[in-house]
């Protein structure tokens, strides 16, 4: 009798356990699926669509807003280039914060894709004597100039070469992107970048729901995860739709120029052909597509 009872309860327990395991596994299946998700570049069109649908749902539940995640590929005959007029920049940092808002950078802990360096005119471009924490009443300050630095979108990027898992690469239109779902967070790319352009999510990124930009790109400004590297993508979600990057549009002095390097009529080509142009750390042969020029 006693044995019988215990056997029955044993069976009951077993079936209960199985049922709960099944329920759990269906719940866990999604995260398991995520765990085994493949590198973006090895996915088929169908897999990408499926994944994006799931991402949009996830973001909606997280932020309570409808999201659009684009995976729009590069268009033919485009190679994006950027030019920044050092003689115009006044160091107001409008670009830094426009970028944060457009690209959903974590507010706390703070991540800035653009670093504006204040330099002394007397010393020229000299990183060792530059300052990112300048904070006077008014800018520009006497005797100083300003050098905003963000991803230089190198033609010969060191960061993608060193990545042990191919989680970062250069797109056909020249934008260096990161697959946040593939990055293992080893930060080798950060060691290899000569421009301090790569930033790491040291903790869970935090963007208030009312500040989130819901117009996103898979390889760009979609919400990020803890423990992955992120960087400037020339606002891939905007430029692939034909628009200017956010930093270009916000700059109050019009120091920021953007365009297609393959289009001889573009403003960027005009600058390369008619202005005095420099790239940072030329000796490293990274061949940036981000140029600094003197407009005057």
């Amino acid at each position: 009798m006693k044995a019988n009872k215990s056997r029955r309860s044993f069976l009951k327990n077993i079936s209960f356990a199985t049922a709960s395991a099944l329920a759990l596994s269906s719940c866990e299946l999604k995260s398991l699926d995520k765990f085994f998700q493949k590198n973006f570049r090895t996915l088929s069109k169908k897999e990408i669509d499926q994944m994006i649908k799931e991402l949009e749902e996830d973001y909606q539940t997280k932020y309570g807003k409808e999201f659009h995640v684009s995976a729009k590929p590069a268009t033919d005959q485009t190679l994006f280039g950027y030019a920044l007029d050092i003689s115009r920049c006044i160091g107001c940092r409008r670009c830094v914060y426009a970028c944060v808002e457009e690209n959903n950078q974590s507010r706390d802990p703070q991540i800035h894709w653009i670093q504006v360096l204040q330099m002394e005119k007397e010393k020229g471009v000299d990183f060792a004597h530059s300052d990112v924490h300048y904070n006077p009443e008014k800018v520009p300050e006497e005797g100083h100039f300003y050098l905003p630095v963000q991803c230089q979108q190198c033609r010969n990027p060191q960061c993608t070469t060193v990545c042990p898992v191919k989680a970062t690469w250069q797109e056909p239109d020249g934008i260096v992107v990161v697959d946040y779902n593939w990055c293992i967070g080893c930060r080798y790319c950060m060691a290899a970048c000569p421009y301090g352009a790569r930033h790491f999510n040291w903790a869970e990124p935090n963007v208030p729901a009312d500040k989130i930009n819901t117009e996103t790109h898979y390889l760009g400004n979609r919400p990020r995860l803890k423990g992955v590297v992120e960087k400037c993508t020339f606002c891939i979600q905007r430029v692939r739709e034909g628009r200017y990057p956010a930093c270009v549009e916000v700059c109050p002095v019009g120091a920021r120029k953007f365009g297609n390097l393959l289009d001889p009529e573009s403003e960027i080509r005009y600058i390369l052909e008619n202005k005095r142009v420099l790239v940072l750390k030329q000796e490293l042969n990274t061949q940036p597509k981000f140029y600094y020029f003197f407009g005057v």
């Binding site: 765990f35 360096l117 042990p164 293992i184 967070g185 930060r187 060691a191 301090g196 903790a203 423990g227």
Partner: protein
């Protein structure tokens, strides 16, 4: 069946020992527990619990990784002189050297795993399963050679112990081939680790062709230092027989290594300071500090001073042949290389950062605890392996003894 006996027997060996031994185990367990709690916090909150930040994006963990790769490399490289000078217990030297190498490699891989932001994605690096960026990424090379090195050494040492355990003749040919593969592999793992840093033009502090040679030289100082002390302990407590001359020869080889290391470092310093390009900044930060930022100065100078004292103690025949001063020298050189690799190699590479900004890095408590956890785990593993090896080699722990015990207990019953 025999294998189960082996496991049971080994477990018994592991947990038998003097009070000192138990105290040692208890200490390691406590350290592991203390460290694991810290690491758990890092897993939950993210690497924000460390003091690494965007400017100094690699630090203490990667420094320890580099140091341990050096230990792993040197432990096996010691086989070359053992072979050339025909030290008598060459088989034993190989076994203990490779056991140390196995533990050091496991610890170094552990340091990589705690350093990465998404350890659960480690499989992305595996060929076939993930998308390993081979041969372009030096990190994938490093992972590849470390794994091969681990497998080779594990195969050799387990085959040797297994043969002794079963009282069989070991496969001399296969072991010899594998040992001769693992020697260049030892050079390879440390060279590739050096190339990991050396091939980054963004960091002038590392971008020197002398980095790999310096790594090898420094490894040849610190790795044998551990074995030197281990051999003395084995000689004292077991039937392990190694002549004083062999130990002195090891010490002599270490002097050469130290001299070469010193020479390389002086060559590097001369080039940097005499030419005085902008790249001098990093050395300046390391040795003298920049402005008020002198955080690394005590570390760098203590490493230099310890290294120089050790060099002198090993260089003078009288102190080299005195076991007190010899051991002091061994501890000093070990500590010197540890500080050099752990602190003075990685951090100045990032300070000032690529945009000239100075972020002052010192390891956080979480980092120290996590490192303590890995070192304790490594020591624990090494203790267990050495204990089993000692039993097999010197204490007649074998299949026969197990069978004998079994029959005896059966007879008693």
């Amino acid at each position: 069946m025999n294998f189960i006996h082996f496991i049971r027997g080994s477990l018994k060996i592991i947990f038998q020992g003097s009070k000192m031994y138990y105290a040692w185990l208890l200490f390691l367990f406590l350290m592991i527990l203390w460290g694991a709690l810290g690491y758990g916090n890092q897993l939950a909150e993210g690497l924000v619990k460390t003091h690494m930040r965007d400017s100094v994006s690699w630090a203490f963990y990667i420094g320890n990784f580099t140091f341990l790769v050096g230990i792993a490399a040197a432990a096996v490289m010691l086989v070359i002189p053992a072979y050339i000078y025909n030290w008598k217990p060459i088989k034993e030297i190989v076994i203990f050297g490779e056991l140390l190498a196995v533990c050091a490699v496991i610890m170094s891989i552990a340091f990589i795993i705690v350093d990465i932001g998404n350890p659960q994605r480690f499989w992305h690096m595996l060929p076939g399963l993930g998308t390993m960026n081979f041969p372009s990424s030096m990190l994938s090379w490093d992972f590849f050679v470390l794994l091969t090195y681990l497998i080779i050494n594990f195969a050799v040492v387990s085959h040797l112990l297994y043969s002794i355990f079963y009282g069989k003749e070991y496969n001399k040919k296969a072991v010899l081939v594998l040992v001769f593969i693992s020697i260049p592999m030892a050079v390879a793992i440390h060279t590739v680790t050096a190339f990991l840093y050396n091939a980054i033009p963004a960091r002038p502090f590392w971008n020197s062709a002398l980095l790999a040679p310096r790594f090898l030289a420094s490894a040849f100082c610190s790795g044998p230092a551990i074995l030197l002390i281990l051999f003395q302990l084995l000689r004292k407590f077991t039937h392990f027989e190694i002549k004083d001359e062999a130990i002195w020869t090891i010490a002599e080889l270490m002097v050469y290594a130290m001299f070469i290391y010193l020479f390389f470092t002086v060559a590097e310093l001369f080039k940097e300071f005499y030419s005085g390009t902008e790249h001098i900044l990093y050395w300046k930060y390391l040795l003298f500090g920049i402005g008020d930022n002198k955080e690394l100065v005590p570390y760098s100078w203590s490493s230099i001073i310890m290294g120089c004292i050790a060099f002198l103690l090993f260089l003078v025949p009288r102190t080299r042949k005195n076991f007190v001063t010899l051991n002091i020298g061994a501890v000093l050189i070990y500590a010197s290389v540890y500080v050099e690799k752990g602190i003075a190699l990685i951090i100045p590479g990032f300070t000032p950062d690529t945009l000239g900004q100075i972020y002052v890095y010192t390891p956080s408590m979480t980092e120290i605890r996590t490192a303590a956890m890995i070192f304790s785990l490594g020591f624990l593993l090494f203790t267990f392996l050495v204990k089993i090896a000692i039993a097999i080699i010197f204490e007649d722990y074998s299949v026969k003894s197990i069978e004998k015990k079994l029959t005896m207990s059966e007879q008693r019953n």
